[in-house]
Subunit: 581 residues, 2 copies
C-alpha cells in the first residue's frame, strides 16, 4: 500500500494527484479499521480526509503549525505524522489518544478536547512567532459547530487586529454534533449558496480576509486554495465545504449518530455491542416531556449535546418550542436560563460536568447573584464519567459548590434524583444544580423527601456508633459497602449519612455526631481539593473528631481505568478500613 | 424643575420635544451632582441620556423589559424610574447601587455588573414571555466594548434563532473603557461611515434585522427609530451612535479617564482627592516595561482594563507590540497566553479577580492541561478589592486553586510579589498565577526566594510554639498582628508561617508542626469554602491538631465597609484570640 511509504508529512509532497487520491482511500481504510473496532469520532474524520492531506501537502508541519479545534478530527493528521500504526495495526490502538497530544508528536501543540479554542490558541502561536522574529504559517482548523462558542467568536474578532500570518480553515460540514444552531450558520449557508460571493459575510465583518472553496473533499482544489493563502501576511479565512462522514454511506446519511460511534460491523453499520437498558438520559427525557405537557412554562435547554438528557431528534420534535438547543454556547445557555426563570419560566439546562466549566461566570453572575430559580443538570460528573483528560467529570464539586446562593444536590439513586429534580423545577427560590448519578441507574425503595427547601439537612440512613460515614451522591453505594464491611470487621455498625446537599454543612447534625462518634469518614466522587470532605474537616477542625476525607486526587487523569483510579485513591471498603482501623 | 414632576416613566410620555430636551439637561445636572461628589461611571451615563429618555418615552416599562449590559449606564434609567433622589439629593446617594438592581425597582430585572450578558438574559425574558403566551417588548441595551465578549457574541448568534420580539440597542460610542479592540469594531466604523448601508454587516451576518441611527443623542430621531421597531416580531438590532461623556467637555475629550471617575470639581474637572503614592498597578507597569526592553519575548496582555497593571495610553505606546489589549475577551486572552507560552513567548495576562471568573475553562483546558508557562496576575483579589456584588474579589482562591497543574502564589508584600513575578516570567515549567496584594503597598526587608520551582514549600518566618499561624498572602500582616497579640497575652510566641503557595500543602512542614504545636490557625483573604484553610483542616483531619480556619463567609457581599466585614468574620487579632484562647 502507498501508506506504507508515508512516515512523515514530507513523504506526501512528491505524490501526484492520483497517488494522493489513493492515499486518501487508504487513510479511510485505516480509519475504518480503528473506528469499527474501537469506536470514536467517525463523521468528523471521514469528512476531513482530503483537507488534511492537502494541508500537509501544502504546508510544512511542524514549522507551519496546525491547531485543530476540539481536535476530534485529528485522526488523519495523526496518520500522516508518524502515528499510522494506531489506525492500521490493532495492537497499537492505544498508542494514541483521540485528540491532539503534544506528548505523542512534535506536530501537535496542545491537548485539546473542548470546542472553540483553536483560533485563540493559534493567535498565541502567531504572536510568539512575531515577537521572536520568526516565520512560518499558523493554521487553525475549526468546524463542527465550534464557531458558535464564545471563545471562538472572541478569537475571530481579535484575529483581525493581531495582523500578520494566520490562516483559519473553516471546515463547514453544516453540522455540529446534532444540527447547527445560531444565526451565523444562516450566513454560512448563504455563502455556500453564493459560492462565497454574498456581500454580507460574517468573517469579513470581523475584519478578516476570506476565500471560499465549494468542494472541500476535492484534493486538487484544496491544494490550490491552501497554496493561495500560504505565507499570507493577513489573518485569512478559508471556508471549505466538506461532507461529514464522507465515504461511508450510513455516516453520510445519519450524521448525528455517526458523529461519534461505538464499534460496529463495517458491512452493515450495526453496533457490535448494542446499547440498551435504563439510562438517566432517556429517563430524564421521558420525565421532562411529561412535565412539559402538564406545564407550558417548562423548557429544556441543551448546548449541542441534547442526547445527554435523551433528546434525540424525535424527542426534540415532540417537545417543540419547549426544547431549545442553543448550539455550542454554554455561556448563553446559563444566562438565558436565568432570564427564563426571572420571567416565570421553568428552565432545565443540562450538559456534561466538563462543559459546565465553560460557564462559571454565568453561573455566578447571571444565575446565582440573581437567585434565578433555574435548574442545572450536571451530567457525567463522576470518576465513572468520560475518561479523556479534556472531558473529566471530577472537578464540578470544587468549581460549583463554592459559589454562593447555588443549591447543589447530590442524589444517591434514581428515585432521589427525580424527587430532587421535580422539587427544583417546581420551586422558585433557588438556583439549583443536580449532580446526576453516574454509577448506573441504581433503584432504591427508601423514601425520599419531596421538599428540599430546608437547605443543608443531611439524612441519617443508618444510625450506628463510633464511626459516621458521610457518603455523597453516587458514592452512597460505596458508603453502604463500607458500612457493611466495618460492621462485619468490628461487630459495631457505623452511622451512615446521605448528605444530599453539596453546598452546605448540616451543622446541627455534625454537632450531634460528636456525642457517639469519634471518627467521621467522607466519601465523594470528585477531587478532594475544594470539595465536600474539606468542609466537614473544617467544621471539625477545632474538635477532637477524627476526620478522614476520601475522594480523588487533584490531577488531570487521562484514559484511565476506573478500577485503577479507585484503588490509587484508596476508594475501596477494604482500603479505607485498613487506613483507619 | 421639570424633573420634579417625573415619578415614573409614564410621566414623560406626555412631554413635547422641548420639554424632553429640558428634561435631558436636568438629568445631566442630577448626574453631575452625584458623580462630582461620589464618583462613578461618568462617560457611559452622560452619553446615554437622550437614548434612555427616548426608550422610556416609546416603551412601556416594566411590561416592556429593559436589560442594560454591564448596567453601569443605567443611572438615567434609575432617575426616570422613581429613584431620582439618589442623584439630586445628596442624603440619598446611598439609596441606590451603581448597577441595575431588582431590589430597588420593578423596572430592573437583574443585578448586572459584568459585561456582555444582556442579549442572553433578554433572550431568556423573551422566551419565557413566549412560553407563557404573553406580549411586550424585550430590549437589551449593549455598548461600551461589550460586543467583543464571548457571551454577547453567543447571544447575538442565538437571538436570530430565538425568533419573536427582541430588540437589541447597540449603543456605539466607539469606546470600551479604553479604546475598542477587535475586528468587529472596524465593521461598526464602516456602518457609521455608510449611514448603516454597508452590505457587509455583522448583525445581518448573525441573522438579525438591522436599523441605523447616526445621531444617538437626538431625542426626536431616537423616538422615531424606537417606534419603528416597537412590537417587532423579529430579533432586531438598532445601532445608535452616541457620544461618550456627551455634555461635559473634559469627559468628551478624555474618554478613557472619564469612563469611571473619582469625585471632582465640576468647574475644572480636577479630582477632589488626588491619587498618588505607590500602587501595584504602576509598579507592575514599570517592572514589565523594563523586562520588555531586555527581552522581546515578554508580552503583557490586558482585557479592556489595561490600567489594572498601570498601562495608561502612554505606557501602552511605549510597550508597542509587547502590549496587547484584546478588548473584553478574557477567554481569548487566556487561550492566547497559552499559545504564546507554548511557542516560546513570555506572556503576562492581568485582570481583576472577578473577571478571571469569565475564563475558568480556558485556565483549566487551554492553560493548565497543557502546562503552558504563562503568568496570570490576579488583581483586586481581596476583601479590600471592589465592593459591589458583581465585582467581588473573594472567590478566586476557591475557583482557581483547585485546578490541577496551576501554581497559585500568594505574595505577602511588594518585594515578594516582584520576586514571584520575576520567577514566573523566567521559568518554563508551570502555568503560574500571582495574587497581587491588595492591602496597600507593604514593603519588607525580609529576604525572599528567587526560585519557586520547588513547589509547596511554606516559609517559617517566626519559630514559636503551641500555636502556628498560617497567614496567606496579604493577610500575612494580620498574621503578624495576631502573633504579636498572642505573645503579649500568653507570654509565648506562636510560630508564624508564610505559606506562599495556595495550590498545595507543605505536608512535611505540617507534619513537623505537630511536634511542638497543638493549634493551627489559618488566615486567608477570600471565602473559606473551597479555600486554603480547608486544605489544612483536611490534612490534620485524622490528627489531634486543632485547626481554626479564618476567612470570609461564602456570600455575595454588596457595597460593604471592609471593617464591618472583617469584624463579622472575626478577622481581628482580638476576636481570634477570644475565639481560641
Amino acid at each position: 500500500m502507498l501508506i506504507d511509504s508515508i512516515h512523515s508529512p514530507s513523504d506526501i509532497k512528491t505524490l501526484d494527484t492520483d497517488q494522493l487520491l489513493t492515499l486518501a482511500a487508504e487513510i479511510r481504510s485505516g480509519l475504518m479499521n480503528r473506528l469499527s473496532k474501537k469506536g470514536g469520532h467517525f463523521g468528523p474524520n471521514f469528512g476531513i480526509v482530503e483537507a488534511t492531506v492537502a494541508l500537509h501537502y501544502v504546508f510544512d508541519s511542524p514549522k507551519d503549525k496546525f491547531v485543530f479545534d476540539v481536535s476530534h478530527q485529528c485522526y488523519v493528521h495523526k496518520i500522516l505524522t508518524g502515528r499510522k500504526e494506531a489506525f492500521f495495526c490493532d495492537a497499537h490502538f492505544d498508542d494514541v489518544s483521540g485528540y491532539t497530544n503534544p506528548d505523542e508528536s512534535p506536530h501537535d501543540f496542545f491537548n485539546v478536547g473542548h470546542t472553540s479554542t483553536s483560533v485563540s490558541l493559534a493567535c498565541g502561536l502567531a504572536k510568539a512567532r512575531d515577537l521572536k522574529g520568526e516565520t512560518g504559517n499558523v493554521i487553525a482548523v475549526i468546524g463542527d459547530g465550534s464557531l458558535s462558542g464564545g471563545e471562538a467568536l472572541e478569537g475571530l474578532d481579535f484575529a483581525a487586529e493581531l495582523g500578520g500570518n494566520l490562516i483559519i480553515v473553516v471546515n463547514d460540514n453544516d453540522m455540529s454534533i446534532a444540527e447547527n444552531h445560531g444565526g451565523l450558520y444562516q450566513n454560512l449557508r448563504t455563502l455556500r449558496e453564493t459560492n462565497g460571493k454574498a456581500p454580507c459575510n460574517l468573517f469579513r465583518a470581523m475584519g478578516l480576509d476570506y476565500r471560499f472553496l465549494a468542494d472541500g473533499n476535492d484534493i486538487p482544489a484544496l491544494i490550490a486554495a491552501f497554496r493561495a493563502v500560504r505565507d499570507t501576511d493577513r489573518p485569512t479565512v478559508v471556508h471549505i465545504c466538506t461532507k461529514k462522514g464522507s465515504g461511508y454511506a450510513p455516516a453520510e446519511t445519519d450524521r448525528e449518530n455517526w458523529h461519534w460511534h461505538m464499534p460496529f460491523d463495517p458491512e452493515t453499520g450495526k453496533e457490535l455491542i448494542p446499547g440498551g437498558g435504563e439510562s438517566y438520559g432517556s429517563l430524564t427525557c421521558e420525565y421532562l416531556l411529561k412535565k412539559m405537557k402538564a406545564d407550558p412554562r417548562v423548557v429544556a435547554l441543551a448546548a449541542a449535546v441534547p442526547v445527554c438528557i435523551g433528546f434525540t431528534e424525535e424527542k426534540r420534535r415532540e417537545a417543540g418550542r419547549q426544547f431549545v438547543d442553543v448550539g455550542i454556547a454554554e455561556e448563553h445557555a446559563v444566562a438565558m436560563a436565568s432570564g427564563i426563570a426571572r420571567n416565570g419560566g421553568k428552565p432545565v439546562f443540562a450538559t456534561h460536568s466538563s462543559f459546565f466549566q465553560r460557564t462559571y461566570d454565568q453561573i455566578s453572575q447571571d444565575l446565582c447573584i440573581n437567585r434565578s430559580p433555574a435548574t442545572l443538570l450536571v451530567n457525567t460528573a463522576s470518576v465513572y464519567g468520560m475518561h479523556d483528560i479534556t472531558h473529566l467529570g471530577i472537578f464540578d464539586i470544587a468549581m460549583m459548590s463554592n459559589i454562593p446562593n447555588l443549591v447543589y444536590l447530590a442524589p444517591t439513586c434514581c428515585e432521589e434524583y427525580f424527587a430532587m429534580l421535580d422539587w427544583s423545577i417546581e420551586q422558585n427560590q433557588f438556583p439549583v444544580a443536580v449532580r446526576m448519578p453516574c454509577n448506573g441507574v441504581v433503584h432504591s425503595s427508601r423514601r425520599f423527601d419531596t421538599d428540599y427547601s430546608g437547605l443543608n439537612r443531611y439524612e441519617v440512613t443508618q444510625q450506628g456508633e463510633n464511626t459516621a460515614i458521610l457518603a455523597l451522591g453516587d458514592f452512597y453505594q460505596l458508603g453502604e459497602a463500607l458500612a457493611a464491611y466495618i460492621t462485619e470487621k468490628t461487630g459495631t455498625a457505623p452511622t451512615l449519612v446521605n448528605p444530599r446537599y453539596i453546598t452546605g454543612t448540616d451543622d446541627r447534625l455534625l454537632e450531634q455526631l460528636k456525642a457517639r462518634h469519634s471518627v467521621v469518614i467522607t466519601l465523594e466522587d470528585g477531587i478532594l481539593n475544594g470539595g465536600f470532605g474539606e468542609k466537614i474537616a473544617r467544621f471539625y477542625g477545632p474538635s477532637a473528631m477524627k476526620v478522614y476525607s476520601y475522594g480523588l486526587k487533584k490531577e488531570f487523569l487521562d484514559r484511565y481505568q476506573v478500577g485503577d483510579v479507585l484503588k490509587a485513591n484508596h476508594l475501596t471498603p477494604e482500603q479505607i478500613y485498613c487506613d483507619i482501623f
